[in-house]
């Protein structure tokens, strides 16, 4: 359903993405791993058109969304995003954060939106904090609200940028199981992550990025079991030493 080909992006002279190609099918959970600064966030942001791609195509259900005629807000409503730094709306409470998009964008009734917002907040354990403002939350709490906000939009594809970075192992487990459920229900996910255990155990496909190119991709078994590239091996060394 999502096909990226020859995607490129530069900031000034600095080429951040170089000829990125991959395809995602409905229900896939694709993990994107790679060194800090290798372009993972930039890739997600290009897919969501928060950065204008410098070249290449991004096909969503066969339509090139970099095309001029695409209605970008409508596309974005179908492709959710959880930011690395959350970007919760500071002027709203936790609950309002999860409602506003449903009402203003998806045109749901406020009462309906409220119910589904509370449901997703409960799933990530944030129901008691409905009335808190973002600045009053701990890092992990903000991250969970960001996840609930994206889920509440009920998108077709969800882009997660390190969705569990601020969470403790227990909470990571809970969030991952929510994500697994969603995957079973057919939600497609692209997850940038440093949690190798997640990439290995949950995803259907793993992409390893290095310096703006896809160095290696394949099933978790391939990548973690028998990495072909030297870089991949080196990158995974510490994880494989400690955890496997």
């Amino acid at each position: 359903m999502l096909k990226v080909s020859h995607l490129q992006k530069s900031f000034g002279n600095h080429a951040v993405l170089n000829d990125i190609d991959f395809e995602v099918h409905k229900g896939d959970v694709v993990s994107i791993i790679g060194a800090s600064g290798s372009g993972k966030s930039t890739m997600l942001r290009c897919i969501n058109l928060l950065e204008e791609p410098g070249g290449g195509e991004i096909l969503f259900h066969g339509q090139d969304i970099t095309d001029a005629k695409v209605n970008v807000p409508a596309y974005r409503a179908k492709v959710g995003m959880v930011f690395q730094n959350f970007n919760l709306f500071n002027n709203m409470t936790v609950l309002e954060n999860c409602i506003v998009g449903q009402v203003k964008v998806a045109k749901k009734k406020p009462e309906e939106a409220r119910i589904s917002a509370v449901r997703y907040l409960r799933q990530v354990g944030m129901e008691p904090f409905l009335n808190a403002k973002p600045r009053q939350l701990s890092g992990g709490q903000k991250q969970r609200v960001a996840i609930a906000r994206a889920l509440a939009m009920e998108p077709e594809v969800l882009l997660f940028d390190e969705p569990t970075s601020a969470l403790d192992p227990q909470m990571v487990g809970e969030v991952l199981s929510v994500m697994e459920d969603l995957a079973k229900q057919g939600l497609t996910m692209l997850v940038v992550t440093h949690e190798m255990a997640f990439a290995r155990d949950v995803s259907t496909h793993v992409i390893y990025m290095s310096e703006g190119v896809i160095e290696e991709e394949g099933t978790p078994a391939q990548i973690f079991g028998a990495p072909r590239s030297e870089k991949t091996k080196e990158f995974l060394a510490r994880f494989r030493n400690t955890a496997v």
């Binding site: 005629k69 203003k104 809970e174």
Partner: protein
């Protein structure tokens, strides 16, 4: 007793007794024009500020839309520069007398007064709003766009509410400026507080005495309004600490929530 023998304070008392109601009426006029025009001006400023920040997407927007946007932006820019850049007193004369003389458009003096002060405030507010908007973390705009909001939706729901908080001190400044600047409307026959002062000072040659009274009245008006605006700011900031919906019960709630959604979960 003639006023030449009175003390400074005695003369002030005399003026108050003789012209007290005039001063108050003038103050009322001043306050009404300032409040109404500041409110309208803020609205104008918000609209202009939002439109000015609509990004042009060279690729996606049609040539027509881009052209239209460009034209609207140029017009708004011209509006801001023209009204911000020329003295309000001259604008008032041109609008009130000029329109009447050249186009035979007879604006009432009150409409003209509200119009002139509002569009002036709007021009200044447009710049203040721009400052407010750039001071909001760009991540907020990205968050809004990511859930599918259009530029205007994002502005209305996310950016402006935060920008407004940041420019509240500025709105206060503008209100206070307006309270004082309505004095130029005397050229179009509006008898505001300052005009009363001029009349009194001109009739009795008691400039300092009348100015003291007028300063006190201005100060009262501006102090009250700036206090009120500070209260609004406080209100906007909300509580430093939120209260949990049910503080004692978090554990239980969390547990209940987990049990409810517990199916299909691992460990």
């Amino acid at each position: 007793m003639s006023i030449s023998n009175m003390s400074f304070l005695g003369r002030i008392g005399y003026l108050l007794q003789r012209y007290g109601t005039s001063y108050l009426k003038g103050a009322g006029t001043t306050l009404v024009i300032a409040l109404v025009s500041t409110a309208i001006g803020c609205l104008i400023g918000f609209v202009v500020g939002v439109v000015q920040t609509i990004p042009v997407d060279k690729k996606r927007d049609s040539a027509v839309k881009r052209g239209l946007l460009k034209v609207v932006k140029v017009i708004l820019k011209a509006y801001v520069e023209l009204f911000r850049g020329t003295p309000m007193i001259v604008q008032a004369v041109f609008i009130y007398y000029g329109l009447s003389q050249v186009f035979n458009i007879q604006l009432g003096m009150w409409s003209a007064a509200f119009l002139v002060v509002s569009i002036n405030t709007g021009a200044y507010m447009a710049e203040s709003v721009r400052g407010g908007i750039i001071s909001v973390d760009p991540g907020q705009m990205e968050g809004a766009k990511a859930i599918g909001m259009t530029h205007v939706q994002a502005m209305k729901n996310v950016i402006l509410p935060q920008a407004i908080r940041n420019i509240m001190p500025q709105i206060g400044n503008n209100l206070i400026i307006n309270i004082k600047d309505t004095s130029v409307l005397s050229v179009i026959s509006i008898v505001d507080l300052f005009f009363v002062h001029k009349s009194v000072a001109g009739a009795l040659y008691t400039y300092f005495e009348s100015a003291t009274i007028v300063m006190a009245i201005y100060l009262t008006m501006t102090l009250v309004t700036s206090r009120l605006l500070l209260l609004v700011e406080k209100k906007m900031d909300g509580d430093a600490n939120y209260e949990l919906v049910d503080t004692m019960d978090i554990g239980n709630q969390l547990r209940t929530a987990r049990e409810h959604d517990g199916e299909g979960r691992r460990g």
